[in-house]
Amino acid sequence: MANYSILLIAFLIVLSVPVLTIFLIAPLVRASRPSKVKLEPYECGVEPASVAFDHRFSVRYFLVAVLFIIFDVETIFLFPWAIRLEQLGWFGAIEMAIFIAILLVGYFYAWKRKVLTWV
């Protein structure tokens, strides 16, 4: 049990660094000169088009985001597989081919259903 309490203390120390810097030290040392431009939400340097909460956006953003998540998660599965590829051998290669084939079916479906074409 002693080992775990050390882990907890380490965790608290690590946690306290950003908390202390952001909420305690930074307000003390930084200059505070707010202006209208500085308080605007950051939109990659472009001027904000409208208020953040009262804004409709195309459902296609959502579809693209969902597709992105699927292929993003796929990559997570690829990493440990790639590290162990030599030990897994052909079995692992075929297994991963099946896994990707299943994902490609979904990709192909989304493509043909015109999810990827922007109107």
């Binding site: 079995f91 299943i102 079916v105 979904g106 192909f108 479906y109 043909k112 259903r113």
Partner: protein, 483 residues
Amino acid sequence: MTWADLLFLLPEIVLSIGGCLLLLAPVIGGRNNGVAAKWSMLLLLVATAAAIYVAAGAGIPSLALGTLFVADPFAVFFKLLFVVVIAMITLLSAEFLEDGRYSAWEYYSLMAFALCGMMFMASGTHLISIYVGLELLSLASYILAGYYKNETRSTEAAMKYFVLGATSSGILLYGMSLIYGACGSLHLEAISQAVATMAGNQALIIGVMLLGAGLCFKVAAVPFHVWTPDVYTGAPTPVTAFLSTASKVAAFAIFARIFYMGLHSLEPDWNSIIATVAALSMIVGNLAAVTQTNVKRMLAYSSIAHAGYALLGVLAMSEIGLQGVLIYMLVYAFANIGTWAMVMLLRRREYAGENVDDFDGLHKSAPLYAFAMVVFLLSLGGIPPTAGFIGKYYLFAAAISAGYAWLAVIAVLMSAVSMFYYFRLVVAMYLKDGAAADVIPSRQVRFIVIVCLIATLTLGILPERMIRGAARSIAPIVNLASR
């Protein structure tokens, strides 16, 4: 992974490939053809059934994927039941898919993936393989529940089901992780060996409680039942039939396997919880059903009560109890699908056929179907000579012989209450005059009603084969539990 593995996994492989093909068919073929989709799905189901026979005859020990998966008689029983149920639901769904407003291929594809998930659940001997199967089933069910995508009620049902279902999956997973922490393994046999010496371990008990809570959500037992009425009412009726039979049966398959194979020696720790849940399900489900005027809602509450009855079999922890669960799932599936098919027969527009009044005077316009409905309701109530009697007989006998006489008393009393609200429909059909709802001229739905009628009566009058089949199917699990 060996060639034998592929053989044992054949039904699941067939279904996965078939499901992908069903998904790709519309984008390659380019047309939404409900009839072709239906026949493709039925063909896939026949292939799956054949694959189940091949896998079942492929030898012992029937383990695949290491030891994550087993094709034992217990799994085969449930898989065959699933295939039959999904085949019936395919025919029930055909009618609303053939008019072309909703995409048929994707519907059947989701159904195939759900079936694949259920098969993994029935075969899982490891909490992870069980969980993956459960998620595959759940994700497909969430979409299916919202398949009337232009109807507010259906979308609302899907949303509620998704949010609550995802939460319960999280709870289930947390329970599994605590069990893993306590036992050092997720394999049911290893868990059963580990827990034998761990009675009273706090982490383990909390893990089992959370696992039980997640499972109770899936079988819709009180107090985890609140989603049931809304989801069952809002979903398209064939999907409701799917949720209340196939999905529930699959959940009971894993409930029984986990508790009989993995956690039997912890019984003193969990039996009072399951007993309370069973009692509450029977009481709340049946009493709430009494006041409903919407048939779908009434049947939803009655399905909550049925989960309570079936839990008696899990609780009993005996051969007869497990046999009771299997028999009850079989007879419940036929009676329940028959009832939902009747609701569909009386359909007007998207949802109707739902009010008790819609059944008024049905015996004049369609005497055969009125009679079939009476048989289904008698079976759900557990009155001989219908099949429901055999199921309840086994469950109640198991409860009494395991020392839960008080639960058996509640079960019998609540069955009497259930006959009250089931008979409101019978009264409407036989004693009331009225503008009986038209019976829609769908041959497929009528066919399902007749199939369920014949099955319910045959299994009730000649139950020997069913009882012997159930006895054979539980053998691997009971041997494990008594070891």
